[in-house]
């Protein structure tokens, strides 16, 4: 009964979305307030029905109602409650339901909180949002109904994929989807602007908070996914340039570009056409990501099932929305009037450069990710494009971008003095050079990682310099500095923090890739293996039984310079219901570094294969992402963004440091 309620609620949501795709749009064209107002009812109602549908499915899982196919295939009565809930989206059908749930919630939020939007723009935005929603409701109902029943209910479910039985599943997919789907708002705004043929600085101010929110969630979602893969897959890597990872990185990159170009548009009314294009591309890449992950063209952790009709359906949605939006763009964009002029050396110029590098870097990832698929479709030849390709293309394009990052926020709008800015970054250069020197002294050759450390420190010190300059620290008396720091808009703090986080992540990436230690050995009980200043003593293995698995746990005593600092207990779990096993790595955090042990198979002679890593600075990779997230959150809390009220240009000029 509950499942039928959920199914029916979804059908109702589809009906509401169909209404919302037309009525407000027609209202906006005829200037009919009543018709436009329908969206204010349908958008929250849609969200309510999808939420009802989602809750129904969750109840089916909680009650272990195995007459529902999706529950039978992905749940087990013995599973802990938390996994029963997370397994709702640990499968294709449920995860698509989560996708539309977030989509409909975003639509409802726009209708509820964007009361200061011009009425016609708001109506058009909500209509466009409903097109996307309707397409995906239809997709779920036609090809992936999560509420399908089995004629005869089995006694026990087939269990959730063991790899997914982890807390990561509770955070990673929802965060990622908040990001992916959040960009649909920017998309709807862009398409609405094209339909209206009108766009101004206020538009950018409306779009920016939504884009920022989506970007923040995507940042955290990607970082969380990376950390999850790191500790769950058991071989110590945190990024594999896997097509699915690329699918999430691409919208993140273009979304980052969009955030920056929207600033230019808001402050200077320039780059309008470009900003619109980026807004369309960002969501298009989110759709491409959904297609890659959900259609079964790729084989990965994320592709749950490969039913060809689904692939074709998503591909159709993809073509209609991306093709349609781009065609609309080609037709209407020339109508948009050009905005303010600026010299190449200026804040705008720096942001253009930022966009150029980010979008190009994203394009190389796009080629690397889709080329194998295209080649296979055309010639039948199967190839794989791996990490070497991306390191060779993405790296060289991202390094110049990082070099420019500290300059950007210090440059003045319109026309800037590059020599003056370089002078102000003097301190940052010194920090970077000290970093290079210290790294070389400690680690010796090769030079490249040391330069990388220098670059990371330069980005971080540059962000600090930005704040120092804005508060006149070192020049003005402390009281003035405090006044200025208090008066500094939160978005300035946000920018500095996000850039700082970028440097932090880079530091971690260099540390992990350059100075990781790895040993793979076979050990018998009481045997010892040493790596760097650490000793690992294998105390023995024992068996344990968990709620729905059995595990073999190996106990290691870890010593650092002969002193015992703790034990590590990696294990291997076997899940009888699926006949599969997983490796549970054991981690020990030492400052910002980690020790990592994962188990291999047991040899006939009783030796146990183990893989031991020492990963210096590895935590910085994810901490940097968290710092970026906090920066975004600070920026989002800036009153100017929330209120969206026009702000006198003078206040900004006063904020600029005296030349």
């Amino acid at each position: 009964m509950i499942a039928e309620v959920g199914h029916f609620a979804l059908v109702l949501a589809l009906a509401l979305a169909a209404l919302q795709s037309i009525a407000p749009l027609v209202g906006a064209r005829r200037n009919d307030a009543a018709l436009m107002g329908t969206a204010d009812f349908t958008a929250p109602a849609q969200a309510a029905f999808v939420a009802l549908s989602f809750v129904s499915l969750a109840l089916c899982y909680l009650n272990s109602d195995f007459s529902v196919v999706s529950v039978y295939e992905n749940s087990h009565s013995q599973m802990p409650i938390i996994y029963k809930i997370t397994s709702v989206w640990g499968n294709h059908e449920g995860s698509m339901l989560l996708w539309v749930l977030i989509l409909s919630i975003f639509g409802a939020l726009v209708s509820l909180f964007a009361s200061n939007l011009p009425q016609t723009l708001k109506a058009t935005v909500l209509s466009v949002q409903a097109w996307v929603a309707a397409a995906f409701y239809l997709f779920i109902l036609v090809t992936s109904n999560p509420f399908a029943r089995l004629a005869q209910a089995p006694f026990e479910g087939r269990d959730l994929n063991p790899v997914l039985q982890d807390l990561g599943l509770a955070i990673h997919p929802p965060m990622l989807y908040l990001g992916y789907v959040g960009f649909s708002i920017s998309f709807s705004f862009a398409v609405a602007a094209l339909i209206e043929g009108r766009i101004n600085a206020a538009w950018a101010r409306f779009v920016r908070p939504w884009t920022l929110l989506a970007w923040m969630c995507l940042t955290l979602g990607i970082a969380m996914g990376s950390y999850w893969a790191y500790y769950e897959l058991g071989w110590g890597g945190w990024w594999f340039w896997d097509p699915v990872e690329n699918a999430s990185l691409m919208p993140w990159l273009v979304g980052t570009a969009l955030l920056h170009s929207a600033v230019v548009m808001e402050k200077r009314e320039a780059l309008k056409v470009w900003t619109i294009l980026l807004a369309i591309l960002t969501f298009s890449l989110s759709l491409v990501g959904t297609f890659l992950v959900r259609s079964g063209v790729l084989t990965s952790v994320h592709s749950f099932a490969s039913d060809p009709t689904r692939g074709v359906f998503i591909l159709t949605i993809l073509i209609i929305f991306i093709g349609g939006a781009l065609a609309l763009f080609a037709w209407r964009a020339p109508l948009l009037r050009q905005g303010g002029l600026f010299a190449p050396v200026s804040r705008e110029g720096a942001l253009v450069l930022n966009n150029l590098f980010i979008v190009t870097a994203c394009a190389t990832i796009f080629v690397g990710t889709l080329y194998p698929l295209a080649l296979e479709a055309v010639t039948g030849e199967k190839i794989s494009v791996g990490a070497p390709f991306f390191n060779l293309t993405f790296g060289p394009l991202f390094i110049p971008l990082l070099l420019v990052v500290p300059f950007g926020p210090l440059l003045a709008w319109k026309r800037a003095d590059i020599a003056g800015v370089t002078q102000r970054l003097f301190g940052a250069f010194i920090v970077a050079l000290l970093g290079v020197g210290a790294t070389l002294a400690l680690q010796g050759q090769p030079v490249l990682p040391a330069l990388g450390i220098g670059l990371a420190l330069f980005v971080m010190a540059g962000a600090v310099t930005d704040i120092i300059e804005r508060t006149s620290l070192m020049r003005a008396p402390l009281a003035t500095v405090f006044q200025r720091a208090k008066g500094l808009p939160r978005s300035n703090w946000g920018t500095a923090l996000a850039h700082f986080g970028l440097g932090v992540s880079l530091l971690g990436i260099i540390g992990e890739t350059q100075w990781s230690g790895e040993r793979i050995v076979t050990l018998k009980p009481t045997e010892k293996v040493s790596m760097r200043s650490y000793d690992f003593v294998f105390d023995g293995a024992s068996s344990r039984t968990g709620p729905n698995y059995r595990e073999t746990v190996a106990k290691f005593t870890v010593r650092h310079n002969r002193e015992t600092i703790g034990t590590l207990e990696p294990s291997k779990r076997t899940f009888p219901s699926r006949g599969t096993s997983t490796t549970e790595a054991a981690l020990m955090t030492r400052g910002l570094s980690q020790l990592y042990i994962s188990l291999g198979e047991q040899n006939a002679d009783g030796g146990l294969a183990v893989r031991i890593y020492h990963k210096p600075m590895v935590l910085l990779i994810w901490l940097g992402a968290v710092v970026m997230f906090i920066g975004g959150a600070l920026s989002l809390s800036d009153r100017r963004l929330r209120v969206g009220a026009p702000r006198p240009a003078k206040a900004r000029a006063a904020m600029q440091p005296a030349e």
Binding site: E73, N74, N91, R158, L160, N161, P162, V163, G234, W235, G236, G237, F240, G296, T299, V301, S303, F304, A305, Q338, L341, F342, A343, P344, V352, F357, T360, T364, V367, G368, Y371, K382, I383, S384, V385, G386, A387, P388, F389, L392, T393, P396, L397, E518, I520, T522, K572, R578, G579, T580, S581, T582, T583, S598, G600, E601, N603, A604, A609, R611
Partner: protein, 162 residues
């Protein structure tokens, strides 16, 4: 600076970056892509020793021999041809005889495939798409075994990080 000059500067900067990107992509594509082959592809195409390829097929039943020091030998078959593989390291959780596997590495002069990474991905009903396609080509594909129901197990790569 006039609008025209500004546009010129922007377009040339964009053009420059794009050219650099295109050159990077083309060189990287030439040097770093790896072709997927089934054992019979290897036989037909006479893949040269030393060329990096991905070899996919089923782990031949009874072929897995574990040696000292994490050395492992097994054979990959697609029903028509069989190629012996040598690997040192920890095999993924899902590696099993009779199941699908992808090994990446190169052939040596004697026809032994030296793998530096091994990927296995299946549960009892599932295998990598590449392997399934290759097996279909050889006519060793049972439709019911290929139909995946529920979650396929994930790819668990093993071997040195690439």
């Amino acid at each position: 600076m006039t609008r025209k000059q500004r546009r010129l500067v922007m377009i040339s900067a964009a053009g420059g970056v794009l050219v650099v990107a295109a050159v990077l992509v083309l060189t990287a594509l030439r040097d770093s892509i790896v072709f997927f082959n089934s054992p019979s592809d290897v036989a037909e195409k006479h893949v040269a020793p030393g060329t990096r390829i991905r070899l996919g097929g089923l782990v031949a039943p009874g072929s897995v021999v574990r040696g000292d020091n994490l050395d492992v030998k097994f054979s990959v078959t697609d029903g028509k041809d069989t190629i012996p593989v040598a690997y040192r390291g920890i095999l993924p959780d899902l590696f099993r005889e009779g199941q699908g596997v992808i090994a990446e590495g190169a052939l040596d002069g004697a026809g032994l495939f030296k793998a530096d990474s091994v990927l296995a991905k299946h549960d009892e009903k599932y295998m990598p798409k590449e392997v399934a396609d290759a097996l279909k080509k050889q006519g060793h594909w049972k439709e019911e075994s290929g139909k995946s129901s529920g979650n396929p197990a994930p790819a668990t790569p093993a071997g040195p990080k690439s």
